[in-house]
Subunit: 311 residues, 3 copies
Amino acid sequence: MKFPRVHTLKEVSEIIDSKFVGEESFPILGMNEIHVVEEGDIVFVDHPKYYDKALESKASVVLINKTVECPEGKALLVSDDPYRDFNKLTRHFRPFQSSSMAISETAEIGKGTIIQPNVFIGNHVTIGENCMIHPNVTIYDHCIIGNNVTIHAGTVLGSDAFYYKNRPEGFDKLLSGGRVVIEDYVDIGASCTIDRGVTGDTIIKTHSKLDNQIQIGHDTVIGKKCLIASHVGIAGCVVVEDEVTMWGQVGVTSAITIGKKAVILAQTGVAKSLEGGKTYFGSPAEEARDKLKQMALVKKIPEILEKLKKN
Amino acid sequence: MKFPRVHTLKEVSEIIDSKFVGEESFPILGMNEIHVVEEGDIVFVDHPKYYDKALESKASVVLINKTVECPEGKALLVSDDPYRDFNKLTRHFRPFQSSSMAISETAEIGKGTIIQPNVFIGNHVTIGENCMIHPNVTIYDHCIIGNNVTIHAGTVLGSDAFYYKNRPEGFDKLLSGGRVVIEDYVDIGASCTIDRGVTGDTIIKTHSKLDNQIQIGHDTVIGKKCLIASHVGIAGCVVVEDEVTMWGQVGVTSAITIGKKAVILAQTGVAKSLEGGKTYFGSPAEEARDKLKQMALVKKIPEILEKLKKN
Amino acid sequence: MKFPRVHTLKEVSEIIDSKFVGEESFPILGMNEIHVVEEGDIVFVDHPKYYDKALESKASVVLINKTVECPEGKALLVSDDPYRDFNKLTRHFRPFQSSSMAISETAEIGKGTIIQPNVFIGNHVTIGENCMIHPNVTIYDHCIIGNNVTIHAGTVLGSDAFYYKNRPEGFDKLLSGGRVVIEDYVDIGASCTIDRGVTGDTIIKTHSKLDNQIQIGHDTVIGKKCLIASHVGIAGCVVVEDEVTMWGQVGVTSAITIGKKAVILAQTGVAKSLEGGKTYFGSPAEEARDKLKQMALVKKIPEILEKLKKN
């Protein structure tokens, strides 16, 4: 998430009322979580275990809860609660704007695109040309949709990441300021839900096709020419490479990678990264032929027991 | 479900055109199913197997299909079809009112609450302060929502219980007159469905957080500070105690209890009540470490077969 | 899918700019996929493996990519790309009509039917008497709904089939020109999605009851008096016979048959046709008692290993 203009370290420290280490005029371009952070960005860290990772990341500014040594060419924002203050920045730079109209005046909609009745299109949404948006679709603020995209009825793009910090007084939500980006020639079925990124983008790449009732978590990237069947649930921060096929009711845990051309059979539960080019089955997922062999072997247990009785 | 005012036994018997046993002026406060029935209420029973349970329950009035001995201090409504007549009472006391407006004039909406476009809010709904109701949400009549609640797009609160009696001529629906109650600081993701209680309340307690596409059945109670991931389905009349965590695509059968702080791993199928404080996996659910051990043991079968061949 | 009037072979060949074999005046009544094709219809075939099946089917006209011998009493449409040209016909005979109103003027709605706010009803939809359509429901063009049907909030009827041909340049969608047909006394829960047929009908037969968040694929037929619990996903071209029960989160693969009165326990994955009258469990599905026996046997492996150690 980039800021609308470059801000200085001093300006940002005033927004969150924090101390800072570095030049007052140190330029800041945006803010991002650790897995998508870029040069010029703020990243936040509040656990000593992850200090080094944050300080050594591409981030130019680290929002941290201890005055550590500042790496060369970087700056620090020092706060007693970086998580809270990162949320404060999201609220400042991406404030929620309520909508009085079903289709915001700030939305840009391309030529030849059909918007059916009862659709909600939020602020600063961009939709390309020759798209078809069916009834009762919801597109939250800042989403970006390419050309020749079809979205079936009841689908929701851009709902918040499911991401909470467990505090004694209750779960504290990490606010979502990111986007959903749907590339050209993507089809999305009915009643799908695609959460936006926390600071980055949830992306469905070109020519991928999604069936109905699919859930895609925040910051997940679906590659090109993927086929995803209904009731598949993919958690946050997953990378699905190109030409992956997932059959119905597959579940995928967060922050893993599914390799190119992998095929994941129905109801499989993916609990860790999978190599591409193979077929998987089971919960947790194994190579399908191994899993099916194991299931056949279980049927031999009565015979084994019989033999042992004789011995 | 309480009646809007106290009714007499005679009045109620006239509504359903039944006989009664007891004083004409015997006061009736409401009606409820057996698992939530309270003093002053009518309960219904139509199978001899459950007569004693109903007669010994807290109910003050038993709607029954046989003239049995009336317990001290109680009354009977005697009908040839208590199920039909219980529905008749629901229809009488909680009649469906169609809505001509998307937001009913009888809905009460608290200060600071934002209602986005295309939301439906039914009759007699109460929404507290500082809530955020995203587009295309449906809130049926009589639902109650606390303060600081967020509901994402496409979610449905208050649809009917999935509850039918199998009659020769077809399934006969038990009508739903209950409510959905969402307590303070609850977040509900996009495209969730939460059915109302049949006569009681389906409740999501304070500080619980639900991801997208979750299904919660009628009369189920979700405790405080629970975390529920996407595509979880929980049937009716379930008690989920406080601080339970359920990962994606978990399924829970009806009328069981999941103990405090239980953790239920993804795709687990819960077929009976579970003790709190433990981690579960598998379909049907077992303690996760047991289940994973079993899965590892299956891989030893080829070795066992090898050994047996040698013997 | 029948044409609005009888067309001649010559007329149709001009629509798709193809050659033909047969009398110019050969009458054509409609077009259908192979599994639902009837006399008078066009069927398409583009793979030599399926030529015979198409030529021997009930179709009167075969749209084919080779000039083969024309069977007696039939005709051919010869095209270099029958899939593309079948889509061209669907586009011609069932063109998408965008809607400017939430309820189309061409929709017919029966007496006593209640349509709640924010519902979308497309062109040429027919809804019978005494139905209840709750808020935010979407009913695409040409759907047919009987009498005494209840549809809960957020449900989508008539979205496109999930059916693509994998071309080098991307997935090429088979256009959907079929319908969804909901018979009398059907209840459909909240946020279900039911795709229409490609050329035929997706049908839910009388007295069947669907819970929330169910997915039904294109051309699938659900029999009479079926009970389907939430999060069940049924792929396309499935036949579910009468009085089948499916518990929560069951998945069913495409183009199979589930026999009358089968009971399918929660989370089961149905990968092939199942005989009626039995109870099934597991993924892939087996008879429940066999599957549960196998699961019990796995727990004997430690004992087997112990015994082998002693031998």
